[in-house]
């Protein structure tokens, strides 16, 4: 017990930081219905700003602190509020694409400017103990963090529970129109929430910078702790969120001392750090689904159906594509062939992601984790001289249980919570799973040699390209078979309207699991093919199976379209291939590639809400609508019955009676 008390103060200090991050997350979700995956990136950006002003520009720390919070908290909050407003009627998938796009944008921008390495800085608040609490010396830094976080939590609680504006802030998600009738401006309320939430992220980033260093990757990963706390609060309750954050903070501080007694293995040592994820997963498993309902989805519009082509056109298109792909090795220098092979490997993973996201409406932010499982399994099997095709098949099969595990939250919950669960899974895989001997081990690397297969030498660039093409074609066939099957129809129906499918008696649990299993199998196979390009698979942060890659892939697929085959191919080409050709092969483009991907994803997600077509039509008088329909007055003149229709439509909401206006229409 006394040992536990020793760790209590440091646990409260850590919990206070989690509190601040989680409060910002819950606040913005509660008031806008937009779950901000870029919350950690905002914290990281603020930390970089602080580093820039304080260390590089030599400002005093209070000025640097204030400037960082103003720029990222207030400025970033206002931008995020506009984004949230534009996403207010977007489907969940596009909301995730947009906020992941912001994350990728900020992460890539910070990495491009400051480099990927962790930047360490001196503490700006004194770490000399002010007083002792047992054996724990309480510093000015600890005291500031705890008082600020808890003070913020108390202030927010009273704001939401005791003030009219606070209650209005929550109501804004459910019915902004109704709220506007109550003399409360929903936009102002939402803006305030985003500014406060983003300021919390910015302040937590600056608080953490001296302890963790300034690293965009570290800070983004830390946000999962806040997810755990927010989950305890069911993404809604502020007191429960604070309790969750404090509990997680104390466990993260206390448990390492206990596991050290159990084992010296790095794997075991890493377990306490992942307490938040375990908390998150447990919450998703045990909390009744009715307490974890999505906010704001009631107003969501549907995605516009993609244009379909006749079967003949589709067949000819696929045949032409296959011919082009088959001739590529003859048209391409040997040095570039590997990049093409790699593109086909990524195509397989993108196709699996597309199957989940566009076909079934479920979001996976851990696709490269499945790929990593496949690659690591193949590495181990090939070391034991298992034939390549058998190893490839088993690698895909081994990834399936992971897919099934991730799909458990998908059975109970929907939309945004599935995305959060997959994000958490990807982080825990990277921090624990990759280090295990059955994956990449302590070296974070395993050999995946290219094979000789069926008399073909796939160790050469061209040979391996054809092997990748063969597997990619098989993957495409699997996607098309699933899409054309009854399962495919039911999945697409589930994506369009799970409510209607439910009302026809279909239990969607099985199909959710099955599609995750198929997608994880394909991603596992794709991972093997990707690893075969360099001949090894790496679980390091700089490797292809990093969580960031999964996020970038979602962003890229978000703007590459929603077709089952061509969109994943376009995504793979953009992601992996264009960078070897001008003008994209410049150092600038490669450095800022993620920035552009992030921007493109955000643009695609908010595009329908921008209504550019009608804006252009209004501004330039050259929009197609105006050309087609003529001026509004003119159109009315062409249809003299319009006033009658309007009256009839208005009456239709109330009883439609013969001789009471409806008669004119009937």
């Amino acid at each position: 017990m006394s040992e536990f008390l020793t760790f209590l103060p440091s646990g409260i200090s850590a919990g206070s930081i989690y509190t601040l991050i989680a409060l910002g997350l819950v606040l913005t979700y509660k008031t806008s219905g937009v779950f901000n995956f870029s919350h950690g990136a905002l914290a990281a950006t603020s930390a970089y700003m602080f580093y820039e002003f304080w260390v590089k520009q030599g400002w005093s720390w209070p000025m640097a602190f204030l400037a960082s919070v103003l720029i990222v908290g207030v400025g970033g909050g206002l931008i995020m509020e506009r984004l949230a407003a534009l996403l207010s009627s977007a489907p969940t998938v596009m909301v995730v694409v947009a906020t992941v796009g912001v994350l990728v944008f900020l992460q890539s921008l910070m990495t491009a400017i400051y480099g990927p390495a962790n930047i360490f800085m001196q503490p700006y608040l004194s770490r000399e103990p002010l007083f002792n609490l047992g054996v724990f010396g309480v510093t000015r830094e600890d005291l500031t963090i705890v008082l600020f976080s808890l003070g913020s939590a108390v202030a927010l609680y009273f704001f939401f529970e005791r003030t009219r504006l606070g209650k209005a802030t929550t109501a804004v998600v459910d019915d902004p129109n109704l709220l506007s009738l109550q003399k409360t401006n929903p936009s102002a309320v939402r803006r305030l929430s985003w500014v406060v939430g983003s300021c919390f992220a910015a302040i937590s980033g600056v608080f953490l910078a001296p302890t963790l260093g300034v690293s965009v990757n570290t800070l983004i990963l830390l946000v999962i702790a806040a997810y755990g706390a927010a989950a305890v609060g069911r993404f809604e309750s502020l007191p429960l969120t604070v309790a969750g954050a404090m509990g997680i903070g104390i466990m993260v501080s206390y448990l390492p001392s206990q596991v050290t007694k159990l084992s010296s293995s790095v794997l075991v040592q890493n377990l306490p750090g992942n307490t938040p994820f375990m908390v998150l997963f447990v919450v998703f498993l045990v909390v009744p689904a009715r307490y974890l309902t999505e906010r704001g989805v009631r107003n969501a519009r549907r995605l516009t159906p993609i244009r379909t082509y006749s079967p003949n056109v589709t067949r000819i298109g696929f045949a032409a594509l296959l011919v082009v792909l088959a001739f590529i090795p003859m048209l391409t220098p040997e040095t570039d062939i590997s990049q093409y092979a790699s593109t086909l490997g990524y195509f397989i993973v993108f196709a699996s992601l597309g199957m989940l996201v566009w076909m079934s409406g479920q979001i996976s932010l851990c696709q490269m984790s499945f790929a990593a499982i496949g690659a690591a399994t193949a590495g181990h099997m090939l070391q034991h001289h298992v034939p390549f095709l058998v190893a490839l098949l088993i690698s895909g099969l081994v990834a399936i249980p992971a897919g099934a595990l991730v799909s458990i939250p998908a059975i109970r919950l929907a939309g945004i919570y599935v995305a959060i669960a997959t994000f958490g899974f990807a982080i825990v895989m990277q921090q624990i799973g990759y280090l295990t001997p059955i994956m990449f081990g302590q070296d974070q690397r395993i050999e995946v040699p290219r094979p000789h297969i069926l008399g073909m030498d796939a160790t050469t660039g061209r040979g391996y390209y054809y092997l990748c093409l063969f597997v990619a074609v098989l993957a495409a066939v699997v996607v098309l078979i699933v899409r054309g099957s009854r399962l495919g129809s039911l999945l697409r129906a589930m994506s369009d309207s799970p409510v209607a499918l439910d009302a026809h008696g279909a239990n969607t649990n099985v199909m959710r699991i099955v599609v995750f299993c198929i997608a994880s199998f394909m991603a596992g196979v794709g991972g093997v093919m990707i690893a075969g390009v360099p001949g090894n698979a790496s679980g390091a942060l700089t490797g292809p199976f990093n969580i960031t890659v999964s996020l970038v892939m979602v962003a890229v697929l978000g703007f590459a379209g929603r077709r089952p085959i061509s969109s994943p191919l376009i995504a793979a080409v953009l992601f992996q291939l264009v960078k070897i050709y001008p003008p994209f092969n410049t150092e600038w483009f490669i450095k800022y590639q993620g920035v552009l991907f992030g921007l493109a994803a955000v643009t695609v997600a908010i595009w329908p809400a921008l209504e550019m077509k009608s804006r252009l039509a209004r501004l330039g008088r050259f929009g197609s609508d105006r050309d087609a329909g003529g001026p509004v007055i003119g159109r009315m003149a062409e249809h003299p019955v319009v006033p009658v229709r309007v009256r009839a439509a208005a009456v239709k909401e109330q009883p439609v009676l013969a001789g009471a206006g409806a008669g004119a229409d009937r």
């Binding site: 009715r290 549907r302 995605l303 516009t304 159906p305 993609i306 379909t308 099957s485 009854r486 399962l487 129809s489 039911l490 697409r492 129906a493 994506s495 369009d496 309207s497 409510v499 209607a500 499918l501 439910d502 009302a503 026809h504 008696g505 279909a506 239990n507 969607t508 649990n509 099985v510 199909m511 099955v514 239709k652 909401e653 109330q654 009883p655 439609v656 009676l657 013969a658 001789g659 009471a660 409806a662 008669g663 229409d665 009937r666």
Partner: protein
């Protein structure tokens, strides 16, 4: 074989608001029963309570001899209680014919894992036949290959109806099914419903604001106001009732 829908003393509260208050409705199988009332009276909430979309604080729902309360909405549908929605719930990315077929396939496969992945030739034939019949009856067979997301509101309503009548439900709850239809479509719509009831013997409970349609197709009417059933009776009696006029219809009479 027709089955009755017997809903007794349903109460649904949202926080302090009582949306449906001790409402009892008995809708006989093989007939069309109307549920009318002003906007916000609790009609859709009542439907949601019947189909398991919300959790009533009290009351029972019985379809034929089967008690449905406490069951999931997909279970209730699987046992024969189908519905359409006020805000249309269609599979927008699928074609018209795929929408109808998928509805039937969803019902037939239900919770059978293999059934959701594969259908036998015999089952496929049944699905295709039922879908073709329903599309024909609703007059939208020519739209078969069009993507539903591209259709007009009236056409979409008909697709939703076709999907509901193609599926072998025992009882249907239709929530404002004629909104968005023009006059000729509404007339045809009424005929589709009466023919379907005659041919299959299923029962229908319909929420509708079009009193002309209601007077033409419904045998009995329940009137809901502020969550309470304020009147029940034959259509003729209901439309002539002072209580119903005061609460909903006003002074104008239905021709």
């Amino acid at each position: 074989m027709s089955v009755d829908l017997d809903v007794r003393q349903i109460t649904v509260r949202f926080g302090g608001i009582v949306a449906v208050n001790d409402a009892t409705v008995f809708a006989k199988g093989g007939t069309i029963t109307g549920l009318i009332g002003p906007n916000g009276a609790g009609k859709t909430t009542f439907f949601n309570a019947c189909t398991g979309r919300n959790r009533p604080q009290a009351g029972t729902v019985k379809l034929g001899d089967l008690q449905l309360e406490g069951r999931r909405s997909s279970h209730r549908a699987h046992h024969g209680l189908g519905r359409t929605f006020q805000r249309m719930e269609l599979f927008d990315s699928l074609s018209v014919v795929e929408n109808v077929r998928t509805g039937v396939a969803a019902f037939l496969s239900s919770s059978r894992p293999l059934g959701q992945m594969y259908s036998s030739r015999k089952e496929s034939a049944v699905i295709n036949q039922r879908s073709a019949d329903a599309l024909e009856r609703c007059g939208i067979a020519t739209l078969g290959n069009k993507t539903v997301g591209d259709l007009s509101t009236g056409q979409r309503r008909l697709v939703e109806l076709a999907r509901a009548i193609a599926t072998p439900f025992k009882f249907l709850l239709l929530d404002e099914p004629s909104s968005g239809l023009d006059v000729s479509e509404t007339n045809a719509f009424g005929k589709v419903l009466t023919d379907h009831v005659e041919q299959t013997g299923i029962g229908i409970l319909i929420v509708e604001h079009d009193m002309v349609l209601v007077s033409e197709i419904c045998q009995r009417i329940y009137v809901l106001d502020f969550g309470k059933i304020i009147y029940e009776g034959t259509t003729r009696e209901a439309l002539g009732s002072d209580t119903v006029k005061a609460a909903y219809l006003g002074e104008a009479s239905v021709a």
